[in-house]
Symmetry: C2
Subunit: 261 residues, 2 copies
């Protein structure tokens, strides 16, 4: 008997978020599913791991017909504990999301959703992060479902190169134009610190800001999304800036020599 | 009168860690310093940002002869709030560390220290993360100081390309052999979940593991460190896996077409 693929599902909005429910529904058509997700929202957690505190797991499998766990840790913790401890066999695919809100361009480095997918790739498992460009709790995940199904099916069938996962962002529209593969746009958050007084007169801040995309390239994720396409960016965790290696070598290695001499 | 460069100093071990004190001592020789660092240890926080909670700042400047603040947020929060709110002028350099423990190879993505440096680069400021491969609280930071001075001086003088910062790791030795510039080694954490019972019979876990470096390349950070050299890796935050763009384009864009049709 051929086993169905095992698909591990994670997110950063927490195990109760509608987005992970929608993603689970799609994945159930493609394989055996397993959910391990944070017990509370963890947006903006990036690639954080819990090393100075304990991690607690609650088994929610009885509520559903598949293994489902909530985890007190970060999205990356969820993937580590799922693969190393909870999974009945090694997952064939890790999917994360569907995130409530965009993880395009620079947001990839702040995103817990994408960090869970990156962690899957670190472990050598084909991995995909899905995000919908709508922060609403009751966002419409239905329109995207057939696309998510086909992208995941393609990755299950053909795999991904070692060290690479996919960052999939879905535009907030009923009329998805198709899929565009491209690069991470050059963009940034124009931050503001919203300064307030607490009831005892102390000062505190909320981090807020406006997202800016100066990049006018037509090969970017932001361009795809702005034109109604699902954007797919292949993402790697080797952060080495290869084109700059030689220059900085010439600048710094002799510094070391001088110092030693 | 020519202004001295303004150097923003951050870390992830917290404002009271000996490592940031050592780094501040070196930077005071190169410019005007400003410290904004977490009020408690934040190791393993990756690129986390505080978006669902408030951020509090305490002014510790009276203790010292330069602007010094502790911050309730993450290392990345510290850089954002420093540059956008607290700095008297735009910093010319962001340095992070000296971290108590290695941030070589894959650790770059888990590291709060390196994420602070990456955030500096996102803001367009030349940035460097420094880490010493010794987790001890009373580690010897003196041996590394002349090298740190020269690397920072070089970056202050010649800058760094937009979108690139440096990951500098210092071996735990009295006999530093010099500086080697290289790529991030292929390495991973072979994780274990240490399972324990709490006093009420509940189960909890500690994330632990062994660091593995299967990569035998002589051009890596791990090779440099193992041979007594300071390793320097230029790090970028554009995570696009460019060599894989065309292949995944061919695989997925027609999927979208079929779906739309």
């Amino acid at each position: 008997m051929i086993q169905r693929p095992l698909i591990l599902i994670c997110n950063d909005d927490g195990v109760y978020a509608p987005g992970i429910k929608a993603l689970t529904e799609v994945m159930q058509k493609l394989g055996d599913v397993m959910v391990v997700a944070p017990d509370s929202p963890q947006s903006g957690m990036g690639h954080a791991v819990t090393i100075s505190d304990t991690i607690k797991i609650a088994d929610m499998s009885k509520e559903v017909n598949y293994p489902k766990y909530s985890c007190s840790g970060t999205p990356v913790d969820c993937v580590k504990i799922a693969v190393n401890k909870l999974a009945p066999r090694r997952p064939d695919l890790v999917v994360s999301g569907i995130n409530h809100g965009s993880n395009s361009s620079i947001n990839v480095i702040y995103s817990g959703t994408m960090s869970a997918a990156v962690e899957g790739a670190v472990m050598g498992i084909p991995s995909i992060g899905f995000s919908l460009c709508d922060y609403a709790y009751d966002a419409d995940f239905e329109t995207a479902k057939p696309f998510i199904h086909q992208i995941a099916e393609n990755v299950l069938k053909s795999g991904l190169p070692k060290g690479i996962c996919l960052n999939v962002n879905i535009p907030h529209t009923k009329e998805i134009q198709g899929i565009k593969v491209g690069r991470q746009a050059k963009a940034f958050w124009d931050e503001e610190l919203d300064e307030r007084q607490d009831p005892r007169g102390g000062t505190y801040f909320w981090l807020t800001g406006v997202f800016r995309v100066p990049d006018e390239g037509k090969d970017t994720d932001e361009f795809a999304l702005a034109n109604g396409y699902i954007s797919v960016v292949p993402v790697q965790y080797d952060l080495t800036a290869y084109p700059f290696l030689n220059e900085i070598k010439n600048r710094l290695e002799h510094v070391g020599e001088n110092q030693k001499g």
